[in-house]
C-alpha cells in the first residue's frame, strides 16, 4: 500500500505492506537511527520515534497506522552537522557509550524538555521508562537533562560533570568529549547493520528443538529448491574443521569441540542448518521445509547431573591433544562415538570429557590442613550462581562480502584478530584472505568476545560469492549466545576468634554448557579475582568445569569474578556473623593492601604457570573509609513500617588490567602533512571510550589538542595487531601501545626537528600547541616539520610504532556498600542506597569511567535481584525476551546511587591508570547478600535473590 505522511517536516510517500512495522519501513527509507533491539517486544526503545508529537515504539506500529500523520525520528535533531543541545549534553555527561539507542534517548529527552521545562527526577525517570540502557546504568542521564535544560537558557552553562584528576596533565584525567560521541548520538552510520548493501543475502538458522540428540536424517532438498534460496549448510556440507568460539589468545586454554555444524546437537537452540536466501522471509520459509529426524538422548542441565556416575556424556568425541597427550589416549578413545566428533586440546586442561569434565585446575599455598587446625572457628558454605545473559542492545550481527578473493567481515566484535584467525581456520584459508572491520559495537559485555556467527556468515559468503547478513533475533540472543556460567562454589574458612583468617578453601564447580569456550579461565577467574583480596598463608582451590546441555556459556563482564566474589565475600559475612564481629573489621584485618605480595597467583595462571604479583597500588584504604562514612556503617537504620527491616552490606572487590604475559597490543601513529596525527590502534573500542583513551594519550604525549589526533581502530587490514578488548585490557594494554607509539613518534619528531633546527636532540622538547622548541630559543611547528619531512628531500613521513607486552600487573580495587529495606511480609527487597567506590588508578576519562561503574554495578544488581534465564525440563529457555528475563530499567535504580572514583597512581599503568569496567560487576551480589542478612537474618545463597526465596528463608512459605 501507499501512505502519505510527514517525516521530520518533509512530506513523504511510503510504500509497503499494510502490516509491516514502521521501524522496518523507516530503516529502509534511510532513517537508520530508528533501530530495533527487541523484535517488537515494545521494551527496549531503540525504535523510539514521535508520532504526532508523542513518543512511541516504531516496531509496534504498522505502516498503515501512520497514514496522514507527522513522524519525527532522531535524525531531526541534527542541524547540518551541528548537534542539538540535548545531544551535546548527553556526550558531555558521559551517557553516550555503546550508544545503540542513544539517538532514541536524545529524542525522548528533547520531547521531555519541550513538555516540561524543568523536569524533576521522577519526571525524567518517567520519560526514559521505555528505554533500555545496559551500558551506563542510567544515572548520568539526570546530569544530561540538567545540562541540556540549563544550556537552553544559557548556552555557555557548565557544571562539574565528574571530578578531574592529575593537575600535571592537560588532557588525561580531564572531562573531554568522547571522540565518537557525535557520530553515535546523532545516529550516523556506525554499526554493522548500517553497512549492509542492497541486494545482500540473509542467513537464518534452523535450531535444535532438543537439548541432546543425534541428527539421524536431514533432508534439505525442498529448501534448496525454493526460489530465492542461495545455499543451505548443514553438518554434511560444512568444513570438517574443529574449533572453539572463544576469542582468546592462541593457543587457547579452551578445547576445540565443535565444527560449524555437528551431527550431535547439544542444547535447545544448537545449530542444525543455515539457509542463505535473497530475503529473510524466503530464508525462514526454507527453514520450515527442512526435514530433520533425531535420536533423542537424555540431557543434563546441572553440575550435579553432569557429575553423576551414569550421566549421559555431552562431548563423547575422539580426544586429541596438540601437545601433552596422555599415554593412554588410545585406550581413552575406545569409548568415543564418532557422531560426537572430536575434542581437541591445544594442551592439557585437566579435562575428562567422557566424564563431562571440560577442564580443571587445582592449586594451593601454605598448608591448608594446618591452617584449619589452627582455626578457632571454621565455616563451610555453598553458593550457587545462575545463568545470566549479556543482553546487548545490538544483538549479535555479522555481515560478510567478497572483495576479489578476500572475505571482508563487518563485525560487532571485541576481538577482530582472534575472529580473523578462527574464521580463517574454519574456512581453511589463510589470514591474508580475510579483512575484519570492527564497526561500532552496540554493547558487548563479553559476549562479543566469542565467534558466534561470523564463521557461518563468512563461509556462506565464501562459498556463494554473495554478501551475507546474519543478525540474531532477541530470542537467538538468549539461546545461541554466550552467557555467564552457572557455578556452585563452596567456601571453607578458618579463622581465629578475632577474625584473622588461618585458612581459605574454595571449590568451584562450573557449568560450561554444551561447549568448552572459556571453560578453564572463567572458573579459574572466580578464584584468581577473589582469593587475592584476602591475605592468608594457607589457601587452596579446586576448579572443575562440567559440560551440560544448557544454552552456551562464555565470557561476561567480570568473567568469573562476580561469582567468586559473591561466594568469598558472603562467606566472610557469614564468618563475621558466626564470630559476632563486624564484617568491616574482618575485611580490614585480612584484606590486601599496597605492597602485598599475592602469592596465590603463582597457582592461577590462565592456562600457563602463574607468577606471584606485587600490589603496587591499592585504593581500598580510601574506598573503605569513605564508603563506610557515606553509608554511616555503624548506625542502625529503622523503618516506620513494622514489616520492613533495614540492613547494610559491603564487599571488597578486585579485577585485573588485562592478562600480563598473554595480552599484546600494538599501535602506530603518523604525522600528516599539516602536522596533525593519525593514530592506528589495534584496540577494539566497545563503546567504553577506548578510542578516546588512545587519542588522549597521544595528544598528551605530543602536546597537541585531541582535535589534532584522529584514530582508526580494530581493523585487521589497516591497524596493527591487538589481542582484543577483554579481561579489562583496553586502557592498560591498548592504551599503553598508543602511548608508547606516540612516545616513539615524539622521539622521531625531535630527531627530525634537530635536523631542521640544526640543534642537538637533547636540547629539544615538545611544547603545546604542537611545536618543538630548543633551549636556545629556536622553534619549529609540526606543520613546518611535516613540510620538511614530507617535501621530497626530508627524512620521510614521521611515524611511531609500539608493541606493548608486559609481565607487570595492575589491579583495580573497590568497595561496594549498600543499604536494603526488606519487607518480611512480602519478601520484597528495595535497594535504598548503593555506593560503588573504585580505584582505577588515574581515571583517564572520568565521566566515562563513572558511566562504566554505574553500568557494571547496575548490571550486577540485575543479576543479583531480578534476572533469570529459566529452562524447562527439556532445556528450552522460557525467558527469551527482555521483559520475561527481567532486565532492570531506570525504574529499578537504587534510590541513592553513587559511583566514587578513588584515585591511585599505578606505576605500571599508562599515566598511572588501571582498568575500571569489569570490576564494577563484582560487588553487588555479596554486598546485597550481606545487607539482607543484616536486615532480616537470612542468607541468600543462590542467585537471584527473589522475594520468593526471601519468604522461604524466613519460613513464610
Amino acid at each position: 500500500m501507499k501512505i502519505a505522511c510527514k517525516i521530520n517536516g518533509v512530506f513523504k510517500e511510503l510504500f509497503g505492506d499494510a502490516g509491516i512495522s514502521l521501524q522496518k519501513v523507516l530503516k529502509k527509507e534511510g532513517y537508520i537511527s530508528v533501530r530495533d533491539s527487541d523484535d517488537a517486544e515494545g521494551f527496549a526503545g531503540s525504535d523510539t520515534i514521535l508520532v504526532n508529537g508523542i513518543p512511541v515504539y516504531a516496531n509496534l506500529i504498522t505502516l498503515a497506522q501512520v497514514d496522514g500523520k507527522e513522524i519525527v525520528t532522531p535524525e531531526s535533531l541534527l542541524r547540518g552537522r551541528r548537534l542539538s543541545v540535548v545531544q551535546q549534553a548527553m556526550i558531555d555527561a558521559g551517557v553516550v557509550q555503546s550508544a545503540y539507542n542513544a539517538p532514541a534517548a536524545a529524542l525522548l529527552i528533547t520531547e521531555l524538555l519541550e513538555r516540561i521545562k524543568d523536569p524533576t527526577e521522577v519526571e525524567i525517570k518517567d520519560a526514559l521508562s521505555g528505554l533500555f540502557n545496559r551500558a551506563t546504568g542510567y544515572k548520568q542521564f539526570f546530569t544530561a537533562v540538567k545540562l541540556a535544560k540549563e544550556r537552553m537558557n544559557d548556552p555557555g552553562y557548565t557544571t562539574e560533570i565528574a571530578p578531574e584528576f592529575r593537575d600535571d596533565l592537560r588532557i588525561v584525567g580531564k572531562v573531554k568529549p568522547k571522540v565518537d560521541g557525535a557520530k553515535l548520538v546523532s545516529g550516523q552510520r556506525a554499526f554493522v547493520e548500517d553497512m549492509v548493501e542492497q541486494g545482500s543475502c540473509h542467513l537464518k538458522m534452523l535450531r535444535s528443538p532438543h537439548a541432546h540428540a543425534y541428527i539421524t536424517q536431514i533432508d534439505t532438498q525442498d529448501a534448496e529448491e525454493l526460489p530465492g534460496v542461495v545455499s543451505v549448510i548443514t553438518y554434511k556440507n560444512c568444513p570438517d574443521v574443529y574449533y572453539g568460539s572463544a576469542g582468546q589468545g592462541f593457543p587457547e586454554p579452551s578445547p576445540y569441540d565443535s565444527r560449524m555444524f555437528n551431527q550431535k546437537v547439544r542444547h535447545v537452540g544448537d545449530r542444525v542448518a543455515a539457509v542463505v536466501a535473497e530475503t529473510p522471509e524466503i530464508a525462514l520459509e526454507a527453514i520450515s521445509l527442512i526435514k530433520v529426524e533425531y535420536e533423542v538422548l537424555k540431557p543434563i542441565f546441572t553440575v550435579d547431573q553432569a557429575m553423576a556416575h551414569d550421566a549421559p556424556v555431552v562431548q563423547n568425541g575422539v580426544v586429541e591433544y596438540v601437545v601433552g597427550a596422555p599415554d593412554n589416549l588410545n585406550e581413552y578413545n575406545q569409548s568415543s562415538d564418532s557422531r560426537d566428533g572430536k575434542v581437541i586440546y591445544q594442551f592439557p586442561l585437566h579435562a575428562d570429557s567422557h566424564k563431562n569434565i571440560a577442564a580443571g585446575a587445582h592449586g594451593a599455598i601454605g598448608d591448608i590442613d594446618s591452617g584449619f587446625s589452627e582455626a578457632d572457628t571454621i565455616i563451610e558454605r555453598t553458593y550457587e550462581t545462575s545463568q545470566i545473559q549479556c543482553t546487548p542492545l545490538e544483538t549479535h550481527i555479522s555481515y560478510a562480502k567478497m572483495d576479489n578473493d578476500r572475505v571482508v567481515i563487518h563485525a560487532s566484535t571485541q576481538v577482530p584478530w582472534h575472529l580473523r584467525r578462527i574464521v580463517a581456520a574454519a574456512l581453511g584459508i589463510s589470514e591474508n584472505k580475510i579483512h575484519v572491520i570492527k564497526e561500532r559495537v552496540g554493547g558487548g559485555y563479553g559476549s562479543k568476545q566469542d565467534i558466534l556467527l561470523e564463521d557461518v556468515t563468512a563461509y556462506a559468503t565464501f562459498t556463494t560469492g554473495r554478501p551475507v547478513l546474519y543478525h540474531y533475533s532477541r530470542e537467538e540472543e538468549f539461546i545461541g549466545n554466550s552467557t555467564r556460567h552457572p557455578m556452585k562454589i563452596t567456601v571453607k574458612l578458618g579463622s581465629k576468634r578475632d577474625g584473622k583468617l588461618t585458612a581459605v578453601y574454595m571449590d568451584v564447580r562450573a557449568n560450561t554448557g554444551p561447549f568448552g569456550n572459556h571453560c578453564l579461565t572463567v572458573p579459574m577467574n572466580a578464584c584468581s579475582k577473589s582469593l587475592p583480596l584476602v591475605l592468608c598463608d594457607n589457601m587452596k582451590f579446586d576448579v572443575t568445569t562440567y559440560y551440560s546441555n544448557i544454552p552456551p556459556t562464555g565470557a561476561y563482564q567480570g568473567y568469573g569474578a562476580p561469582k567468586g566474589s559473591y561466594a568469598l565475600m558472603t562467606a566472610l559475612g557469614e564468618l563475621s556473623a558466626e564470630l559476632g564481629l563486624d564484617l568491616l573489621d574482618i575485611l580490614e584485618m585480612n584484606r590486601v593492601r599496597e605492597g602485598s605480595l599475592l602469592e596465590i597467583l603463582r597457582c592461577l595462571g590462565e592456562g600457563r604457570e602463574g607468577t606471584p604479583a606485587l600490589v603496587k597500588s591499592c585504593g581500598l584504604d580510601g574506598a573503605l573509609s569513605i564508603g563506610s562514612e557515606m553509608i554511616d556503617w555503624k548506625k542502625d537504620e529503622l523503618s516506620d513500617d513494622p514489616n520492613i527491616s533495614v540492613g547494610k552490606g559491603v564487599a571488597i572487590i578486585q579485577q585485573g588490567s588485562g592478562l600480563p604475559g598473554l595480552d599484546h597490543s600494538c599501535a602506530d601513529i603518523k604525522m600528516l602533512a599539516d602536522g596533525t596525527f593519525m593514530l592506528h590502534s589495534g584496540g577494539a573500542d566497545l563503546g567504553t571510550g577506548l578510542d578516546t583513551v588512545s587519542v588522549k594519550f597521544a595528544a598528551e604525549v605530543l602536546c597537541v589538542d585531541m582535535e589534532q589526533v584522529s584514530i582508526l581502530s580494530g581493523d585487521t587490514d589497516n591497524t596493527p595487531f591487538d589481542t582484543g578488548a577483554y579481561a579489562s585490557s583496553g586502557t592498560f594494554f591498548s592504551g599503553s601501545a598508543s602511548k608508547l607509539a606516540a612516545e616513539d613518534l615524539k622521539a622521531k619528531i625531535l630527531e627530525a626537528a634537530a635536523v631542521s633546527l640544526e640543534e642537538k636532540v637533547e636540547y629539544l622538547s615538545l611544547q603545546t600547541p604542537g611545536k618543538v622548541v630548543s633551549q636556545s630559543g629556536k622553534e619549529i611547528t609540526y606543520w613546518q616539520l611535516a613540510q620538511d619531512t614530507q617535501a621530497g628531500l626530508g627524512m620521510g613521513q614521521l611515524m611511531g610504532y609500539a608493541s606493548f607486552t608486559t609481565e607487570d600487573a595492575a589491579f583495580p580495587y573497590g568497595a561496594h556498600f549498600c543499604q536494603v529495606s526488606v519487607n518480611k511480609r512480602t519478601g520484597e527487597i528495595k535497594l535504598d542506597k548503593y555506593y560503588a567506590l573504585q580505584d582505577c588508578g588515574t581515571p583517564i576519562n572520568p565521566e566515562l569511567a563513572l558511566g562504566q561503574i554505574y553500568g557494571g554495578s547496575f548490571k550486577s544488581i540485575g543479576h543479583t535481584l531480578y534476572e533469570d534465564m529459566i529452562l524447562d525440563d527439556n532445556g528450552t529457555c522460557l525467558t527469551t525476551d527482555l521483559k520475561d528475563y527481567g532486565v532492570p530499567m531506570i525504574s529499578e535504580l537504587p534510590e541513592d546511587f553513587q559511583a566514587i572514583l578513588i584515585p591511585t597512581d599505578d606505576p605500571y599503568g599508562p599515566f598511572g591508570s588501571k582498568s575500571v569496567s569489569e570490576i564494577s560487576c563484582n560487588g553487588a551480589a555479596p554486598a546485597i547478600a550481606n545487607a539482607i542478612y543484616d536486615a532480616v537474618g537470612v542468607w541468600m545463597r543462590t542467585w537471584p535473590f527473589t522475594p520468593e526465596k526471601v519468604l522461604k528463608a524466613l519460613g513464610k512459605i
Binding site: 513518543p55 509496534l60 498503515a64 525467558t879
Partner: protein, 279 residues
Amino acid sequence: MISDLIISKSLTELLQHRAELGSRSLFIAGGTEINRLDSPHSDGSFIGLSMENLGLDEIRETEAGITIGAMVTLQQLIDSPVIPDYIKAAAGFAGSRTLRNMATIGGNIASCRDDSYLLPTCIAAKARIHTIDIDRKGEILNEDIPIREYVENFENFSGCCLSEIFIKKQDRFVKTRRYSRTAQRTPDALISFGSDLKEGVLTDVRIAVGSLGCGIKRLPIIEQSVMNRDLQNEEQCLMAVKKVIEPADDITGSSEYKQYLVGITITDLMNEALGGHER
C-alpha cells in the same frame, strides 16, 4: 502482522466491515497487542479495523460517573484530572511511558490477558463496559454490562466492539497490589480489592486477581467470606485462597508463593478498607 488496515469514517461503517469480514478481521485500538512480538495474530491473515477517528478517544465526566472511550491511552488516563487514582495506578502498571502512549484502555481490556494492567482493578471498581455490535439487518446493538460479566463470558464478546468503559462516581475503596521483580517484568501476582463500607461493614466486595498464570479471576467465595466476616485473620485468608485458586508454577514463581501473596494481600487490603473498624 495484519494484511490490511481499514479506516472507517463511522462506528456503523466499522461494524459493517466487521460483519462482512467476520473472524478474519480484528479491531485495532493502539495496536500494541496486535503488532507485538509473539502476537497470536502475526501470521498476516487478519485485516485490521482501525478504531481511530471515531470519537472514542475522549474521557467524559458526568454527575453519575466517568465514561472513558476505548481509544484513550493509558498515559491519557494518568494525565486526566478526572480519572480515579486507582485507575491511574493500574495504568501505571505498564512501566514504560512510551508503551502507555500507545496502549489503550480498550485494547488492554479486550485482549483479556492474564497479566492485564487494568482488568482486576476495573472488576474491583465495578466498572461497566459498553459494547456495540451489528445484527444481520444492519441494526446497531448497544449493550451495557458489568466488566466482570465481560471477563467471565469473554468468548461470547469476541465479535463485538468494546467502545467505552464507565466508572460510577462512588465512595468506594479500590486498591490493587502488583508484585513483580521489576516495574516491567511479567508480574508474580496482581490482586485488586474493592468494597463499600457501610456502618463499619464491608459490602459489595469485589476481589479480582491476575498474573497468576490462570487468567483473570474473580474470587466470589472469598468476597462472600469477607462480607460475612468469616475471615478473621491472615491464616484463615490464606486457607481460603488455597481452596479457591491454583496459580501456575511458572517463570514468575511457584503456585504456593502466589497463593501466599494473594492471601496476605487480601488480608491487608481488607484491613485497609475497614479503616480501623473491626473485621
